[in-house]
Each structure stands twice: as C-alpha cells, then as structure tokens.
Amino acid sequence: MKKLLLFSVLLAGLWGCTKSFTGDQPEQTPRATFEYLWEEVRTKYSFMAYKELNWDSVYATYSPLIRPDMSEEALFRVLANMMNELRDGHANLISPFTYSNYYPIFLDRPENYDSRLLLEHYYLRDINKYYITGPFQHTVLDTLGKRFGLISYRSFSNGFSGAELNFVFEKMAGVDGVIFDLRSNGGGAIHNAHTLAGRFTAVERIGYYSRLKNGPGPADFGPELAIRVVPSTSPRKFTGNVVVLTNRGSYSASSMFCLHMRALPNVRLIGDTTGGGLGLPNGGELPNGWTYRFSVSQSLSSETDAGGQRYNWESGVPPHIQVDLDPAQAALGYDSMLERAISYLETGL
C-alpha cells in the first residue's frame, strides 16, 4: 500500500513537471492580444517594404484605442481595422463570432462579370453543347465559321478529378482557341492551379518564383523556389491559342494561375488586373484564442523588366489587353470582355 502511495505521489509530481516544463498560459487581456498581433505582423508580414507601410505609426494610431474593459466585439473591430491597414485580402482576423476581410480590393473597381449574361447568351446559346463537368462550365461557341472553347471555373477550392479534366479537354479538341474565364474566382487550393496550367502547355516552364519570409527584418527572405508549369501527361490538353479572362475578383490562387499562364507563349490575359494576393497566408493563434492569417511569402514573376528585375504583382497581375464589361453592350446581350477575347483569337490582335 505504501509503495502504491509512493508511486501515485511520484506520478502526480511528474505530471506537475510536464505542466511546469511547457509553461503558463499567456495573459488574455485586450492589451496583450493587441501587442502580440502587432508584433507578429511587424516581424512576419512579407509586403511591409513593398507596400511602404509604417507599422510604428499604425501602432501609434491603434494602441490608444485599446482599453482594459473593452468588449470582445470592440476589440475585434480595432484589431480588424489594424489588419486592414495591410490592404491585403489575405489578412484576416477570425473570432468565434465573425471574421474580417479587406474588401476594397475588388469593390474599388467595376465587377466586370455578369454570370447571368454569360449563361443566357453564351452557354445556353446551344444547350446541347453545354456541360457542367465537376466545377467547370464549358461549351464550344461557333462564331463566323470558327469554333472557340469556353470554360468557366469559379473557385480553386473546388477540386476536380483527372477524368473530369479529360472530359473537358476532350471537348476542346480541334477548336480554334480556348477562352478560360477566371473572373470572380477568389482562389483556393494552389495545387489545382498547377494541375490546370499543365493542360495548356507541351513544354515545362518556370511560372513564377516563391520566397518565404525567414526572419524579423523586412528584407529577410529565404531562397527563391522556382515554381514550374509541368505539362500534363494526359494527351487531352490544349496547346493552341488561349485567352484567360480576369477581373479584380480573380484573387490568390487565381492570380498565381495567371502568373503561370503569362509564362506560356500561347496565352494572353484579357480583362482587368487581377486582385493580386500572391503571398501565401500563414495562420496563427492570439493569446485570447482567436486566429489570424496574413501573407508571409512573395511570388515573383518569371518575366523581368528592362533592368532584369522580376515583377512583384502582389497588387494584381496585369492583363495583356485591358478591357471592362460595357453595361450598354451587356444590355444587348453581349459580354464585351468575352467578345474582345473572341476578337483576339480570330485576328491575333
């Protein structure tokens, strides 16, 4: 009995060791939560220098708003507004009751997308050619004796199988060009972008370079990792002329897909500048249990400027041809952006 007692006491003590070893919980006050988030952003956000942000002045603005007796909702608003100073759609604060986002990225520009217009006047032009295969809407448009494939993909979060992709690209066989509509695709899983881009090339190319923040200084980055467009091993791909339609709602993985596509000589981007979001968002937890994320990497284009510098298109990947949706044309049943894409594929201009 004594031995059992001794053993129990030792067990309890050893469990105490475990608790002592891993340390106490942090303070959960509004001040502690604010300071923690501010410091995390200061040391890890990857576009501090690119966006010329003065994070100390942001501290000076928001620190006086933190009060010990403020409600959780009031604290959330202050922290969310501070995060929005980053002007980054990947900067989000997540509490159990709501989450924050930076909306001006796409609200500052016309939407340039009308899904009903597209459905009514293009996809349903010939219902017998219209398919919804997995997350893809697709058809083949007959225009003045030429045939153009039209594919819409609304979210990179929506996965697809090889069989689904094979079916889509089987329908594109022999067409004179493909229009890949990426408008208002807010991003999702980046591996879907790699897979999809591989269906538009026969040659491996570097799509972009990715580098991760690796230290607290604004210029502390690890080595650049070349992200390649690898041709699909499936024979069902399309390596002819391709147009990718974009708007400001084409964000995150959509923008990375556009970087890939810009690296292919057979592809042109038409529409509005994408929303950007080329930084990989991390995730972390605050002292009070809320979570957050913000960009911690940079994606640099494979294209270079006259000085040999790679472009950082965090604020948006530019199109080769800028065009907006014309409301007057839309009222007549024409998607002016799509029509411009058809015109390019017909004339090469």
Binding site: F21, G198, L212, N282, V296
Partner: protein, 306 residues
C-alpha cells in the same frame, strides 16, 4: 522584478525535486527469487496512456494540453560490465488550447516518435554497493502537430537527432518482507526479502541536429513539386546546436513483477521534455506516459551467464 507565484514555486520544486526522482528506476522481485536475476537479453513491449503538453511560439503563445495513447518496444542487453539498450515509443493524442468558450476551443492532433540508443560501461563506484555506469546515447525525437484552426499553418513539427553522455547510478538493496503463519498455538515466521533496485539515469545533451517548422509557420510547398519544397524547407531550417541552446530530458520510473518463466510484467512511467529556441520563438513539449507491458526474456541459458 517578477515575483514567483505559489503555483510556480510548487512547479519549480516539483521540477527540481522530481527530475532526480523521476530518473530513478525500481526493480521489485519476489523474495523467494532473490537470487534469480532478469535475463541478460530482453525484449519489452508496452502500451498505455500518454499525457501531452506543448507550446509552439511560432504559431501560438498558448499552451496546449491533452491526452492520448502510446505504444513502445525496447531491447536490453546486460553483461557484467556493460549495458546496451534500444527503446522506441510512438504516441498520438489530442491537445487543446485550454480555452473553452461557447464556440469551443482550438485543438491539435499530436503524433510523436522517440528513440533512444544507449551504451554504458560500469566504472568503479565511489561508495560500497553503488553501481555506476557511464556511456553515451543517441536520441531521436519527432513530434508532429496538426491544428486545423491555423489554416495553412496547420502543420507544426520538431525533429531532433542528438548525442550526449549518459550516467546511471544503481543501488541494489533488499527489504525484509517476513511472512508469519499460525497453526493453533504454533507460530512460524518465514524469512523473506524483496529485492529492489534504485537507479538514477541522467542524459546530458552535447550536440544535436534540429529541424522545425519554418519561421513563418508555413511550409513553402506552393509548387507542384511539394517534396522539393519540403526538402528545401528542411534544409533551410536545420541547425546543429550545442547543449545549452536546447534541452532534452528523458526519465523513467518502472517496477517489474517477475513471472515464474523468467518474463516480467511491468508498470512504467516515462517522462520526456524537449525545448528548443529558434529565432527567439521557442518550442517546448513534454509528454508523460503511463505504460503497462511485458518484458520477455530472450536469453535461452541465462544461468550460464551469471
């Protein structure tokens, strides 16, 4: 100046006092078999509960705690003047941030693998029956944590391969355990003893190679060659670190009950602590395992080796 709270003080005392005690080992054999020793070669198989705790400052300032289960295996070879052992444990469990609200708290799934290989030689002990072994050990430690609430940073990991010195002090002794039998007016006392062995093993880390989650808490696997990205990350985040910049403690407390066939049932408490500082953002983890097991003799002729 920061005051040490009562709670912290208790934990500190427990840490100092019980690290030594926890490094002890007991071996209890029935008195009638005091001369029978454990086989010179043995295989141990065990399983049981594990108590987890960790704090990964790259991802959160909060301490996570929880429970799970573990399994393990070991091999011992003991000769007159030297001792060789290999032990490995696999554990998994769930830990949460200890912060419950109406919406629930964040939780992580934890997977761990530990391996220790030690080789010790008997050296002359300074005191009487004290047996002193000294040698070296290789320590392997890996912990993988998956916390879905952290999105792209859901994966956190620490891995270490270390080398260091090992010192073990053992003190065998017997406790009187007489049994008295009565038959009417006759009284007979059978003299009996229980053999015990107290031991204290200290592993002193010297140098170790560490790798852990990248500084920003996310792995650069954004390419369509994720293995290349992962290999690059492992390369970029590997460090060779000298003692003082990391801590690895592994303690064992166990009791054996010898069976007639020479095998033994065991009850064991094992505690491992790991701490490593990376770019001023530390990780600390500890796990305690309560294990029941079977020690199987492998030596076919143990008596010939006495």
């Amino acid at each position: 100046m920061r005051k040490i709270s009562f709670k912290s003080g208790i934990h500190l005392l427990l840490t100092i006092g019980l690290i030594g005690a926890s490094l002890s080992s007991f071996a209890i054999a029935p008195g009638s078999k005091t001369k029978k020793q454990l086989t010179n070669q043995s295989l141990q198989l065990y399983g049981g509960l594990t108590f987890l705790g960790f704090k990964d400052e790259l991802q959160s300032p909060r301490t996570y705690a929880g429970m799970g289960w573990s399994v393990g295996a070991g091999y011992d070879r003991i000769k007159t003047n030297r001792l060789w052992s290999v032990e490995t444990q696999l554990y998994m469990g769930s830990a949460n941030n200890q912060l419950q609200n109406n919406f629930g708290g964040n939780a992580a799934q934890v997977f761990g693998l530990q391996m220790n290989i030690a080789r010790l030689w008997r050296v002359k002990a300074p005191i009487g029956r004290l047996q002193w072994y000294a040698g070296y050990s290789t320590q392997g430690y890996t912990q993988i944590r998956v916390n879905q609430a952290l999105g792209n940073s859901s994966l956190g990991y620490d891995a270490m391969v270390g080398w260091g010195g090992v010192s073990r002090l053992e003190f065998p002794f017997r406790l009187k355990s007489d049994k008295t039998y009565r038959l009417w007016i006759f009284k007979y006392t059978r003299k009996s003893y229980r053999s015990l062995r107290l031991g204290w093993q200290l592993e002193l880390p010297v140098v170790a190679a560490h790798v852990r989650t990248p500084y920003v808490g996310v792995t650069n696997t954004v390419g369509n060659e994720p293995m290349a990205g992962l290999v690059q990350d492992l390369k970029d985040n590997s460090r060779l670190v000298l003692a003082g910049n990391y801590l690895y403690l592994r303690n064992q407390l166990y009791g054996h009950y010898l069976l007639k066939n020479g095998n033994a049932l065991s009850l064991q408490w094992q505690w491992t602590g790991y701490a490593y500082n990376y770019n001023d953002q530390a990780t600390r983890s500890a796990n305690g395992q309560l294990l029941v097991g079977l020690r199987i003799k492998l030596d076919p002729h143990p008596e010939q080796r006495r």
